[in-house]
């Protein structure tokens, strides 16, 4: 099933706001963003997206090719591209962060980038994944799985 992710205009507005926030050294916390108004990255809020093994395989492949460059193979945020990033990519093993972040926020970040959720705009969007909510959900599962790592 394919779902629309809604409008992008707001994400742009958010990105501008976030950029302003970053310059001032005070990126807004996640709960300051109006998630209802921003485009939704998946059906997570309404009903869980069915994730198949094929989706998980594709997600693993995508994580390796797109995410690990900065986030690292083990999600520590220590990929080869991370050295010069400021702020640094998050350590996905951080249990506190895992508790506070919503599934929807993770999925939205994957599709629309950090700027869409008030985080670093250096986290790039993956616009082609808007048409693949199950793969995005599988990527979110993968990010969640890092919490269990030592």
């Amino acid at each position: 099933m394919k779902r629309s992710f809604g409008r992008f205009a707001l994400a742009t507005a958010v990105a501008v706001a976030v950029a302003a926030g970053l310059v001032a050294g005070c990126a807004p916390a996640e709960d300051e963003i109006d998630l209802e108004a921003a485009p939704k990255a998946s059906a997570a809020a309404d009903q869980p997206t069915a994730v198949t093994d094929a989706d998980r395989q594709e997600a693993d492949k995508l994580f390796g090719s797109r995410c690990a460059t900065c986030h690292g193979e083990t999600g520590k945020g220590d990929g080869p591209g991370a050295a010069t990033l400021f702020p640094k990519p998050r350590d996905y093993r951080d249990a506190e962060w895992q508790k506070t972040v919503s599934d929807e926020s993770i999925e939205k970040t994957i599709v629309y980038g950090g700027a869409a959720v008030g985080k670093s705009p250096a986290m790039v969007p993956n616009p082609d994944l808007a048409a693949k909510p199950a793969v995005v959900a599988a990527l979110r599962e993968k990010i969640r799985s890092f919490a269990k790592q030592p």
Partner: protein, 688 residues
């Protein structure tokens, strides 16, 4: 909105149904809506047709070519870019240009000819001391396995400078350019043997093979033609010049070639014109070349046994001329490697049928295509049944005994290709038509007008052992009135023709605004399997191996100085260039070793430095090196040239080249590279 395939099919059906209703007067309600609301707003199909003055045939053609977003073309056409020196990749049936491949000409988008490796590559096929920056690309040849395109490699020739290049279809990049020192031009390349054992390159203009200068009056004695057989090493994906050889030919203008296949595997057919050996007026009142070369009714099809020639070339009967192993003409005759068959008149295309049993030759100045039987040619060669010899002793087979027949074509037949239903298609240059004819009956069935002056044609798989048919591209030299006027220099016109049905239908015109696109080959898209990125990170585009200088992560980015040589190990990732500040002295040699450390598909960066002619294309994972002397003091921004992310504009840095003169360092440059304003802004920003 991304519509699933069945949705699209339904839409197409609805559209077609609407169309049928719309074109049957009084049958429809005229309210059928076009999916997606095209340029005509929300008009109905009937209204759109009326507004745009489209016939039913036009709309059917549109339905056959329109390719919705995200849908890929069924075929890829690899076309020559003519004297643009680049190859083109075009999707069929949409006729969308997908790629230029820099081959003989620097190509800035790909950074081709800008980094150290591709600069050296361009120079490698050039005469010593010169780097050629163009080529007259003519005939692309896809690599073949068992006589069918295998999608691995593309070969192209440069007629003007007698070069052949190898393009790897894993990354669509040029990997090698070779030049045979004994050839001065090469209209007859590139053509491959059925398993890509050899790439055939026939010369056109004869000249002394040893590179010397002989008086033109001594043309018959000292000028010679030649055909190169470049050995292709499939494992290395490179031509192996040391294992390649040539055969010396009489000073006729050797022309196009085709390798035999299946029944005729191991043989090569090369036609010729100017067997009159005209060299023009000679400055002495002789007939000009075009008439001097057109007096004879017959020229000679060269029939070459390349498998046997391979053996002779490896023996001491071959001579080395300018570093090329050459089988002398006399040896080729003695060993039975070369036979001639008369062919009418000033022929152009030589095309082996899919089963390899026959050879179709169209004579530019004849009105016929002649179908030669390989079995009869072979029988006459085996039994030495000759009709005579040419002035150089090459045996000539009797024309009438080795042909199956001739097809009355029309004016100016040039090239022939084949489909999957037993039809052959021949271009008629003078008539501006394409003739479809039956190979079995040797009869023309239908002709379709094209616009105008058609040269080559390309049918999907049309020169292989298994043609796909379906689509034909008519490659027209002139467009005249087909497109909006754009000045005296007009584009060429590729016309897409549907050949699947009982009758041919012209579907679409595609202007080609560069060079003289010449010939193309069309392959099923699914047979091409390119890389998504260079993996692992740090791969060199030319070696396809890890580049020894490439930094693989931002941690490895650094600047190292050794005397006046500065190595900059640089990484690119969205949206950072590391290092972003580089300070050197005027006169330093800078060696940039740049890596895009990303693996994300399509996350290509560029890297340019102002005023230093530095321009790299850095596809994901690719490493490239560029060396230059910082001979101009000043501040030179560098940045990423691909809009890679929302922070693309921020992806840059500064190269500071301090003047040699120590006293001037740190102040305004003593010898400013550009006019500079003397005024400085005041602290509050209101200066100037």
């Amino acid at each position: 909105m991304n519509m699933p395939w069945n949705g699209r099919s339904r839409a197409a059906l609805a559209l077609a149904t609407g169309l049928a209703l719309a074109v049957a007067p009084g049958c429809g309600d005229g309210k059928t809506r076009v999916a997606g609301k095209g340029g005509g707003g929300s008009a109905s199909i009937a209204e759109l047709m009326k507004a745009r003055d489209l016939s039913e045939a036009d709309v059917v053609a549109a339905l056959k070519t329109y390719t919705p977003t995200g849908v890929k073309d069924e075929f890829l056409m690899f076309a020559s870019g003519g004297h643009g020196g680049n190859a083109l990749v075009i999707g069929v049936p949409s006729m969308r240009i997908l790629k230029y491949i820099g081959v003989f000409t620097p190509e800035p988008w790909q950074g081709y000819g800008f980094d150290d490796e591709t600069k050296a590559l361009l120079a490698s096929g050039s005469p010593e001391g010169k780097t050629l920056t163009w080529g007259d690309m003519h005939h692309p040849a896809l690599s073949e396995t068992d006589g069918v395109y295998d999608g691995q490699v593309l070969f192209v020739n440069d007629k003007a400078n007698a070069r052949v290049a190898v393009v790897d279809l894993q990354d669509f990049t040029t990997q090698q350019i070779v030049h045979s020192a004994i050839l001065r031009s090469d209209h007859g390349g590139a053509f491959v043997t059925p398993n890509t054992e050899y790439v055939i390159e026939g010369g056109q203009f004869p000249a002394p093979l040893d590179g010397s200068v002989a008086d033109i009056e001594k043309y018959d004695d000292f000028y010679r033609g030649a055909v190169m057989f470049w050995k292709f090493d499939r494992a290395k994906k490179r031509i192996d010049p040391a294992a390649s050889f040539a055969i010396e030919m009489p000073p006729y203008f050797q022309d196009l070639a085709d390798a035999g296949k299946l029944a005729s595997d191991g043989w090569c057919f090369l036609n010729s014109f100017n067997t009159e050996r005209s060299y023009g007026t000679g400055g002495a009142g002789l007939p000009p070349m075009e008439s001097g070369a057109s007096r004879n009714d017959m020229d000679y099809l060269h029939v070459i046994n390349w498998r046997q020639a391979e053996q002779v070339a490896a023996s001491d009967k071959a001579q080395v001329i300018q570093g090329v192993r050459v089988i002398p003409l006399g040896v080729a005759v003695e060993e039975g490697l070369l036979h001639f068959v008369p062919e009418p008149k000033s022929p152009h295309g030589v095309d082996v049928t899919p089963n390899g049993e026959e050879i179709c030759i169209a004579g530019k100045l004849s009105t016929q295509a002649t179908v030669f039987s390989f079995a009869r040619i072979k029988e006459h060669i085996d039994q030495k049944k000759y009709a005579g010899k040419d002035p150089y002793g090459v045996p000539i087979l009797p024309f009438k005994d080795v042909i199956r027949g001739q097809v009355e074509m029309g004016l100016g037949p040039l090239h022939t290709q084949f489909d999957d239903k037993g039809f052959a298609y021949t271009t008629l240059f003078i008539e501006s038509k394409i003739a479809r004819w039956s190979l079995k009956d040797l009869k023309v069935i239908e002709k379709i007008p094209v616009h105008y002056n058609v040269g080559h044609l390309s049918v999907a798989g049309g020169d292989t052992a298994k043609p796909d048919g379906r689509f034909l591209i008519s490659m027209n030299k002139w467009a005249i009135d087909r497109f909006a006027d754009v000045g005296p220099l007009l584009p060429q016109n590729f016309q897409l023709i549907d050949i699947a049905g009982d009758s041919m239908q012209l579907l679409y015109d595609m202007p080609l605004p560069l060079g003289e696109p010449h010939y193309a080959q069309m392959i099923k898209t699914e047979l091409i399997k390119p890389w998504e990125a260079y993996t692992p990170v740090g791969m060199n585009q030319l070696t396809h191996q890890p580049d020894p200088h490439a930094p693989k992560s931002a941690q490895e980015a650094r600047i190292e100085r050794n005397g006046d040589v500065v190595d900059v190990y640089m990484t690119l990732v969205r949206s950072t260039i590391t290092p972003d500040t580089i300070k050197v002295k005027e006169g330093d040699t800078l060696k940039f070793h740049v890596t895009n450390v990303e693996q994300t598909r399509d996350a290509t960066h560029g890297f340019c430095i102002a005023d230093y002619n530095v321009n790299l294309s850095m596809e994901p994972g690719k490493a490239a090196n560029v060396t230059f002397v910082a001979d101009r003091p000043g501040v030179f921004p560098f940045y990423c040239t691909e809009f890679c992310s929302a922070l693309h504009m921020e992806m840059g840095g500064f190269l500071l080249v301090e003047p040699k003169n120590e006293n001037a360092a740190g102040t305004a440059a003593a010898d400013p590279p550009r006019n500079r304003a003397d005024a400085k802004p005041s602290a509050d920003g209101e200066g100037g």
